[in-house]
């Protein structure tokens, strides 16, 4: 608790510190590559015959996904707090890579915990982290995926809390993480809102984003929350079926529970044991969901739908061939939803899809699952 309170205090101070904000903004711009473009997907729009589709290109950010927004923010906080050791959990590896990147940039020792199942399916990222100087520790317990990596990272943190900062990668965990991580990703929606107003002179009818822990989605949703006519759609991992253990759709079959310091919707069994989950995309393969998403869903402000493994794979190929963009399998879930939604919308309407990451890390999985002639 003391570490969480210290973190909250430092974060609140940094929020009000103009020099901190200026330095973060400068790094986001000159190092990470912000602002990211909002791209009009003309061919995809024509193909679907409905709403105009715009793609928010977080995949063009340095390291290949939105994760670095949060890593830069927390990295600067670590500097402020005078700590020198950073640990992180990672699912698909993108957060691990972004953390290793920022640690190399700022000069911190870096240890990343990753489930051994995830290490196998996201090999490229494991190599990248090690090349960047991070130690990657495989986690063998439980399902050997994201939640188990988080358990191990938390164990390290409570043991080394005096010297170490836990750079959590999504809007999960105990306070202040869900709020802080969301704040660091708000830039996505802030940019998109200004960009769409400039491009179309009006707000979108809908925004679609994939939801694992929920960082890229809350990042793009947040600045549109007050625009009540903008529909917010989060896409969860529908996996390979509806039975518990075959998917990671928390709002389909999950119920309120406490996991890893957060009270939110959790996929669990009747005894309160946390369920195993499945998704072809490592980054969505998590049994709980950011509490802010739970609140948005319960209030009706946002809705959450699943997309299956098969639909995500299909969407990947379609986007690659229609717009020349290979999305990460996580982001492909959002694309899968726009394929269903856009044709039902008017041609005068606009929909924005958050492409949260690029698909290079998933080449291995795509090769296993797609027949490319």
């Amino acid at each position: 608790m003391a570490a969480l309170e210290e973190l909250e205090r430092e974060y609140e101070k940094a929020k009000r510190d103009r020099k901190f904000q200026a330095r973060l903004e400068q790094l986001l711009r000159t190092y990470a590559g912000r602002p990211t473009p909002l791209f009009f997907a003309r061919r995809l729009t024509e193909k679907l015959g409905g709403a105009k589709i715009y793609l928010k290109r977080e995949d063009l950010l340095h390291t290949g996904a939105h994760k670095i927004n949060n890593c830069l923010g927390q990295g600067l906080l670590v500097e402020r707090m005078g700590k020198h050791r950073v640990i992180a959990e990672t699912g698909a590896g993108q957060h691990g890579v972004a953390t290793a990147t920022v640690c190399a940039l700022l000069g911190f020792e870096c240890v990343v915990y990753m489930g051994t199942e995830d290490m196998r399916r996201q090999e490229l990222n494991v190599f990248r982290m090690r090349l960047l100087g991070a130690e990657v520790r495989g986690v063998e317990s439980g399902s050997r995926t994201l939640k188990d990596a988080i358990n191990e990272a938390m164990r390290d943190w409570v043991t080394n809390v005096r010297t170490t900062h836990y750079l959590l990668g999504s809007v999960l965990g105990a306070h202040p993480y869900p709020t802080m991580v969301r704040d660091f990703h708000r830039v996505i929606g802030r940019e998109a809102r200004a960009q769409i107003l400039q491009a179309e002179g009006k707000l979108p009818a809908a925004i679609i984003a994939c939801v694992g822990g929920g960082s890229n989605s809350i990042g793009i949703f947040y600045d549109f929350l007050k625009d009540k006519k903008v529909q917010l759609i989060g896409v969860e991992a529908g996996g390979r079926g509806e039975a518990l253990g075959d998917h990671a759709a928390r709002f389909r079959g999950g119920s309120p529970g406490v996991l890893q310091g957060t009270y939110s919707y959790v996929l669990q069994d009747s005894g309160g044991q946390i369920a195993l989950t499945h998704s072809i995309s490592a980054g969505l393969d998590y049994p709980s969901i950011g509490p802010e998403h739970a609140a948005l869903r319960d209030s009706g402000r946002a809705e959450y739908v699943p997309a299956s493994d098969a639909e995500a794979l299909e969407a990947t190929t379609l986007l690659a061939r229609t717009e020349g963009i290979i999305p990460a399998l996580e982001s492909a879930h959002a694309v899968a939803e726009v394929l269903k939604l856009a044709p039902t919308m008017k041609k005068s309407e606009v929909v924005i899809v958050n492409v949260s990451g690029r698909g290079d890390k998933d080449i291995g999985i795509m090769r296993e699952n797609l027949r490319i002639d």
Binding site: V158, V161, V258, Q268, S270
Partner: protein
């Protein structure tokens, strides 16, 4: 039955229920009581034991493979209570299984089973409002963990909410036997004494008679967990006997012991 330490220092023993199975756990618990334990912490296995090291992680996995549940642990508590009238029984669990059962239902069933209190590993005192109300309504003692990194203000809050005893964690980290007791331990107990009159039990990492005696000098009770669980793991087929021997060896250096009825 109020939580009482008859020995000095008192002995609190943690076991993971269901490892290797519930019948064996019952035998282990009874052997431990026979060997002089004042309080038993009945550990409920959880899928994501974030505060536990590898020994208790493994035990939890084994217990979960047999589908050991919170309900079964409460039934076990009732069975133990039939044989041991004066031993303190605490349910030691992560929050989610209890939430799933329902806070009130849990307290009701626990009380009826003869349980004295509970310790919820991942429920900080700041979030414990509903829990404290339910526990008080059913005359159960809420036990909380105090860490070396807790500032004085927080120790005060923890002490105020606690009943029965305060569980002082000897060092930053997760459960697991260690060779040396850290300096953190004495300091923490000293700071706690300034804010509570409740007995203070110290745990995490205690596995030898020397450590037991050392802790006994400044704490009111000693908690042993991982070393018990490891003894169970290493003595297949004679778990209860092995644990009984281990507990007797561990607490042999204890200076005072008064007779108590069973």
């Amino acid at each position: 039955m109020p939580l009482t330490f008859y020995r000095k220092p008192g002995l609190v023993v943690y076991v993971t229920c269901g490892d290797p199975d519930l019948d064996t756990t019952r035998e282990i618990v009874l052997a431990t009581i026979e060997a002089g334990a004042d309080v038993i912490e009945l550990g409920v296995p959880f899928s994501d034991p974030v505060a536990d090291g590898p020994v208790i992680q493994r035990a939890s996995e084994r217990a979960l493979k047999r589908e050991t549940s919170l309900g079964q642990v409460l039934t076990l508590a009732a069975e133990v209570r039939q044989h041991a009238q004066s031993t303190g029984l605490i349910v030691f669990s992560y929050l989610n299984p209890i939430l799933r059962m329902g806070m009130d239902k849990f307290c009701k069933v626990a009380r009826a089973a003869g349980v004295d209190g509970a310790l919820i590993t991942d429920l900080p005192v700041e979030e414990a409002g509903e829990y404290l109300r339910a526990m008080r309504a059913h005359d159960l003692a809420p036990v909380f963990l105090a860490a070396p990194t807790s500032p004085d203000e927080r120790l005060k809050r923890i002490a105020a909410a606690s009943r029965g005893f305060v569980y002082a964690v000897s060092r930053t980290g997760v459960t697991g036997a260690r060779h040396q007791l850290a300096d953190d331990a004495r300091k923490l107990v000293r700071r706690l004494r300034r804010v509570t009159k409740l007995p203070i039990a110290l745990g995490f990492g205690i596995s030898t008679a020397e450590q037991f005696a050392e802790v006994g000098e400044f704490a009111d009770a000693v908690v042993v967990g991982s070393s018990i669980v490891e003894t169970v793991e290493r003595n297949r087929g004679r778990e209860a006997a092995a644990v009984g021997e281990f507990v007797r060896e561990l607490s042999a250096v204890s200076p005072q012991m008064s007779a108590h009825s069973r």
